[in-house]
């Protein structure tokens, strides 16, 4: 850069020019030191200070002018002041000073593609220090415009430069790496080269953040969020304000389901409000939260900043599509394709947005369009395959995933999914009238009868309630490994959910995938099937809160104790005004602000459904579903179904909640809200529903001071926590008679509390100790009205009922335990005996068959007893076959021999012996 030229032409535009125009010039060494300091400021995120220093009239920098200009422009870029950055170049021959690439990038950011091309071209021709990078940028421009051939040639030239050893600066190495990354679609081995080149760039200039950010983005592109996070975190450690690093971190967090993604993205946009990629990402998050209006607002800002941005226009097209504005959508789509005819990511993004809004058939179709447009869109094949799998088209899905994997073998999601699909041969298909179950061979025999029975029952109930019959069969995949279920759902292990619904396909954990007492597979299956109905009846246009709310609502109606129960954080959130209004409730699922907000939102949504049904009847819910199907907004739907505005609804609903939980709210005193201590009280949450696993007992402390507690309990009779803490402490000391009173008081203050340390469980124990069995039964019964996973308490209640001779009730409770764990042989034996005694032979057969499938040590006897039950149920042919199986194991087993002789009419004449009666 020539100083004179700058002084002569840019004085009016920038203070920087003035800086250089006046004053005495410091010595070169001083200038260099000053620039070092400024560079350091830039790399630690003190952008405003950089700008201010370089714009200050007393700044006086000369010898390092190009460097000063670069620092200033980079600071302006980082803060989104693109027009000022453009102005900074006025009168400067950027190409000649080695700043041509920077000039081009500034033009690009300002939406001036022609200017950018010109700047890159000039830099390339000038053969300055940035000529090689300029060549890359030109190829990149061609790539964006769909000139893939031209771009590819340019990218390979970068590799050639690397091989010739002429790419030897960090920036050149980043360009080489980026070229390799883009060429990876043709040759996936090049992804490794990209990693290598990024690593070399990092080694060459460890404090320059760009290669680490790009490396992180590459890792994330391949679903390796852990490495991505490490790489990006390195940048943020030295510069916590780097907008691109913040954006990359927000993406990684979003990938990991980390709720801090939103605040991290906000931080990026706070530093650089014009960071288009961040605006686009924020719009995508809004889309995923079904906040289409806000998504539009966000992406329009991006389009305004860069009207040619393909990514921004793509998201805008997604908004139009999801809002049902078909003409606008078509116009945008056609415009994007006119500018970039092979831009497959248009359809890939549309497919992703569709998935996030549960529009799986549409996602499949968009992905098919992507691969039609670009047969090397491996992302497109992946999306196509995954959505085909979600829709139950396993063979086609697998074939497309294999194509995707052949093209991009580093995609962990695709690899994991293919590995999973390979295991499908180990699964058995069980068909019923409306379902096709896929259950692992090792447990199909045991689980299938119960699952089929429950699913068909749910089908009948839901068809009647929703006056809608989904196309059958519904495919239900049951995974004995939670990791496999997780892969099926999100491509990676670690999902907190229990089940997932893709519409016509459900996937859920098998009871064997979870610890006993942490999961109720019955309620999960019912929950997911309810989704099938509500998604399909609305063409998936139902908001997330309503489909989840209805699923929990349906669970509650299916069996006592099923569905979420109220937790302390829900009541404290209500007390503190932290529950979300109906307009924001989706955010509680999609953009939770604290870890257990998802769980609270599930419960709240289910109570909304309860409230609507109670006040307006279930027909109001049907009207709402019809409205959503027609594309109406929540405001319109509420008006139509209940003649309520959203604010009126909130007012009435929260009034109802305050009344319902008023005593509990008052009794919780100053208990911390969901962000505080009570947050630990919640289990993990996930897409398919929050975990209902047992939580920590909040009332059990170590070495409590009983006399102090006694005094506190006496002085605070209306404080739930104090009463419960005192009751728990007395119970722990085995002072049962004394523990009863505070526990009863705690129960009355918050009757719906069934978490760990709850009054019912302890009272039941106390009553059992004191031989007050009827009261123990009542306490456990009340507990199990709200708790679906308490295995020990179910069994305890069954024992008490058995001891009381209430065998039918005992059997009913034991039946419910099967939904927690069907693996307990004793439960099946008791049910079989009870069923036989009661003449319910079909149940006896089911239970005896379950005992056989549990692979008992005494297999011969188990088979023999199944045969007896089959005989009693009037199935002699089945009995004959079964008893032969028993004799295969133990040919000389006398009772089985007797039964066989009896069944085939070969008992010796005069033999008084009879096969045993069925029983214990």
């Amino acid at each position: 850069m020539r100083r004179g030229a700058l002084i002569g032409t840019a004085a009016s535009a920038l203070a920087l020019a003035a800086v250089w125009a006046v004053g005495a010039w410091p010595a070169e060494a001083q200038e260099a030191a000053a620039l070092e300091e400024i560079e350091s400021m830039l790399r630690t995120g003190r952008y405003e200070a950089v700008i201010s220093r370089l714009e200050a009239p007393s700044g006086g920098l000369t010898a390092a002018e190009p460097r000063a200009l670069r620092l200033l422009v980079e600071a302006l870029i980082a803060t989104g002041r693109y027009n000022e950055a453009v102005a900074a170049f006025e009168g400067v021959d950027a190409a000649e000073t080695g700043l041509g690439v920077l000039r081009g990038r500034v033009a690009l950011l300002a939406g001036d593609r022609a200017g950018a091309r010109q700047a890159f071209e000039s830099a390339r021709v000038a053969r300055g220090g940035d000529a090689l990078v300029a060549s890359f940028e030109l190829a990149r421009l061609a790539w964006d415009e769909g000139a893939i051939g031209e771009a590819t040639t340019g990218f390979y030239a970068m590799i050639d430069a690397y091989n010739r050893g002429v790419a030897d600066t960090a920036e050149e190495l980043v360009a080489v790496a980026h070229a390799c990354q883009l060429l990876g679609r043709d040759d996936p081995e090049l992804f490794k080269d990209a990693l290598r080149a990024y690593d070399e760039a990092v080694a060459l200039d460890p404090s320059w953040p760009v290669p680490r950010i790009r490396l992180g983005e590459l890792f994330l592109e391949k679903y390796d969020s852990s490495q991505a996070r490490t790489s990006i975190a390195d940048v943020l450690r030295s510069n916590p304000r780097h907008p691109e690093a913040l954006l990359a971190m927000a993406r990684t967090m979003r990938f990991d389901g980390d709720p801090r993604a939103v605040e991290t993205l906000d931080a990026a946009l706070e530093v650089n409000p014009n960071l288009i990629a961040a605006r686009v990402f924020r719009a995508r998050l809004r889309l995923a939260s079904e906040r289409f209006g806000e998504a539009r607002e966000e992406v329009e800002k991006a389009v305004q900043a860069d009207p040619e941005s393909l990514t921004a226009r793509t998201v805008l097209a997604a908004v139009e599509f999801l809002e049902g504005r078909d003409e606008e959508f078509a116009r945008l789509r056609d415009g994007i394709l006119a500018d970039s005819p092979r831009y497959a990511d248009l359809f890939n993004e549309l497919a992703d947005a569709s998935v996030e809004n549960r529009l799986y058939p549409q996602a499949r179709d968009f992905a098919a369009e992507a691969v039609r447009l670009d047969p090397k869109s491996w992302r497109g094949y992946g999306l196509l395959g995954l959505n085909q799998l979600r829709l139950g088209d396993i063979e086609a899905g697998k074939a497309n995933l294999e194509r995707a994997f052949a093209g991009d073998p580093y995609n962990v999601w695709i690899k994991n999914t293919l590995d999973l699909v390979d295991t499908f041969v180990q699964y058995r298909t069980i068909e019923s009238e409306h379902f096709e179950f896929q259950i692992h061979d090792s447990e199909a025999e045991l689980l299938a009868p119960y699952m089929v029975e429950l699913a068909e029952e749910a089908w009948a109930v839901l068809v009647e309630r929703y006056r809608f019959e989904p196309p059958a069969p519904i495919r239900v995949e049951v995974y004995p490994s939670h990791a496999d279920f997780s892969v099926r759902t999100v491509g990676l292990a670690g999902l907190g959910a229990l089940g997932v619904c893709f519409g016509p396909v459900l996937a859920l954990d098998s009871p064997s995938a979870r610890q006993v007492g942490h999961f109720n597979w019955g309620s999960t299956l019912w929950h997911e099937l309810a989704h099938t109905f509500t998604l399909l009846v609305t063409d998936a246009k139902i908001p997330r809160w309503l489909t989840e709310g209805l699923s929990v609502f349906e669970e509650r109606r299916a069996r006592p104790g099923w569905g979420d129960d109220v937790q302390i954080p829900f009541v404290t959130s209500l007390r503190d005004g932290e529950l979300l209004g109906i307009a924001e409730l989706n955010d509680g699922f999609m953009r939770p602000k604290f870890p257990n907000q998802i769980g609270l939102s599930y419960y709240q949504a289910s109570l909304i459904c309860d409230w609507i049904e109670e006040n307006y009847g279930f027909d109001a819910i049907l009207v709402m579903l019809a409205g959503y199907r027609e594309g109406k907004s929540t405001e319109e739907v509420f008006q139509e179904a209940m003649a309520l505005s959203l604010s009126s609804f909130d007012e009435r609903f929260f009034g109802y909640l305050r009344e319902r939980f008023g005593t509990a709210m008052a009794a919780l005193g100053d208990a911390p809200g969901p962000g505080g201590e009570a947050a630990e009280d919640e289990g993990g949450s996930g897409e398919g529903g929050p975990s209902r696993a047992p939580r920590r007992n909040l009332f059990a402390g170590q070495a409590p001071d009983l006399s102090a507690l006694e005094k506190a309990a006496r002085e605070n009779p209306d404080d739930f926590r104090i009463q419960m803490t005192y009751g728990n402490a007395l119970f722990a000391e085995e002072r049962y008679a004394e523990a009863e009173a505070p526990l009863l008081r705690g129960r009355d203050l918050f009757p719906e509390f069934v978490g760990p340390g709850n009054a019912y469980t302890l009272l039941a124990e106390i009553y059992r100790e004191l031989e007050r069995d009827e009261e123990a039964i009542e306490a456990l019964d009340r507990l199990l009205q709200h708790n679906e996973t308490a295995w020990d308490q179910h069994l305890a209640l069954a024992d008490l009922l058995a001891a009381a001779g209430r065998s039918e009730e005992e059997a009913a409770i034991l039946e419910r335990t099967l939904y927690i764990s069907p693996f307990d042989a004793d439960v099946h034996r008791r049910l079989a005996e009870s069923a036989s005694a009661g003449g319910r032979f079909d149940i006896a057969v089911r239970e005896r068959a379950a005992l056989v499938s549990l692979d008992p040590a005494d297999r011969a006897d188990a088979l023999y007893r199944l045969a007896l039950a089959e005989r009693d149920a009037g199935r002699p042919e089945r009995a004959r076959r079964t008893v032969l199986r028993a004799l295969e194991v133990a040919p000389g087993y006398d009772p089985a021999q007797e039964l066989l002789l009896d069944l085939v009419g070969k008992r010796p004449a005069g033999s008084g012996r009879q096969p045993e009666a069925e029983g214990p």
Partner: protein
């Protein structure tokens, strides 16, 4: 005869007549309870040991053929012969060699803790531990006997290689020396012998294979039912290859597959019936013939049409059932007392 008594009587009769090998040989048992380290473990290993000792006596072993070396003699002076020190264990194996004859069955069962991740695989005893090689050397004295060596301790997998030998059954609670967590295998093994739990084929006796299969199954159930990660995988080796199998086959297996020999060796010794009537002998021969045909049919199961198979199986099972009833009547007529 009371109906309830018929089955055991028949079992005894049929088992006596069919179990040719055990009839001609004596069975000896040495149970060793290692050092518990804690009261709870000491008690547990003692309990398991006594269950096996009592089961063996109940199954017909003369008390003089049963030796129990325990960690503390004061726990049960009546049953415990001596302290389970290394010296005593080696001395008792030597004594077994003197006491037994070629063709006899010798069972050696170890309950306790073991280690094997670092250093040679060992079984922890009061005082000096014995390592696998020392047991292997001691067992050389028992050549020509059919030895069943069961190490039900944690980290016992390392014993398999050194002790494996043709004609010998080796069972370990774990598959390697690295599985050093507390093992529950011994408890289920003891349960298999104690009572009828392990007698899968209902012939009135529990074979080494049946006991192993029972314990293996119960271990799997325990870990699955409690949602725990399994930390022990028992192995059985009886084909001498030293590899062991977690799912050994049964009597129908070939000799190159684990499980066959173990299916033929029972912890028990039947009282030899004084005489058999000609009728009973004929029935016994017929029964053996039917059983052979059943075994042959079962081998063809995969190649036969299901209905054909079931029909033929039914025919044979009916025939067997009728012979068993005749045998039972013959036993009654012969004056065999109700048990």
């Amino acid at each position: 005869m009371k109906r309830g008594g018929a089955v055991p009587a028949l079992r005894l009769t049929v088992a006596c007549l069919l179990s040719v090998a055990p009839l001609s040989a004596d069975t000896h048992l040495l149970v060793v309870a290692g050092v518990g380290g804690e009261e709870a473990y000491t008690g547990r290993f003692h309990l398991w040991s006594t269950r096996v000792v009592d089961a063996a006596v109940a199954a017909g072993l003369p008390p003089e053929n049963v030796v129990y070396l325990g960690e503390r003699e004061d726990l049960d002076p009546e049953r415990i012969s001596a302290r389970s020190t290394g010296e005593n264990v080696l001395a008792e194996i030597a004594a077994l060699a003197d006491r037994s004859s070629p063709g006899d069955d010798v069972w050696i069962v170890l309950f306790g803790h073991g280690s094997g991740a670092a250093g040679p695989p060992r079984f922890n005893l009061p005082g000096r531990d014995l390592v696998a090689d020392e047991y292997a050397a001691a067992l050389e004295q028992l050549a020509d006997r059919r030895v069943v060596f069961i190490n039900a301790s944690s980290a016992s997998g390392g014993f398999l290689g050194p002790l494996s030998q043709e004609g010998r059954i080796v069972i370990t609670a774990t598959k390697s020396g690295g599985q050093s967590n507390e093992s529950l295998f011994g408890g289920y093994l003891a349960e298999a012998f104690d009572g009828a739990a392990g007698d899968a084929n209902k012939d009135g006796q529990t074979s080494a294979l049946e006991a192993f299969t029972f314990a293996q199954r119960e271990i799997e159930r325990y870990y699955r039912q409690n949602g725990l990660l399994r930390t022990e995988n028992a192995l059985l080796d009886d084909d001498g290859d030293g590899l062991g199998s977690s799912e050994p086959a049964g009597v129908e297996a070939s000799e190159t597959v684990d499980g066959r020999l173990a299916s033929l060796v029972y912890l028990g010794q039947e009282a030899r019936p004084s005489t058999l009537t000609a009728e009973a002998r004929e029935l016994t021969d017929r029964r053996a013939g039917i059983q052979r045909r059943i075994d042959e049919l079962r081998l063809q199961r995969e190649t036969l049409d299901e209905e054909v198979y079931l029909s033929e199986l039914q025919e044979l099972m009916v025939e067997l059932a009728l012979v068993d009833r005749e045998l039972e009547e013959a036993a009654v007529a012969d004056g065999e007392p109700d048990p």
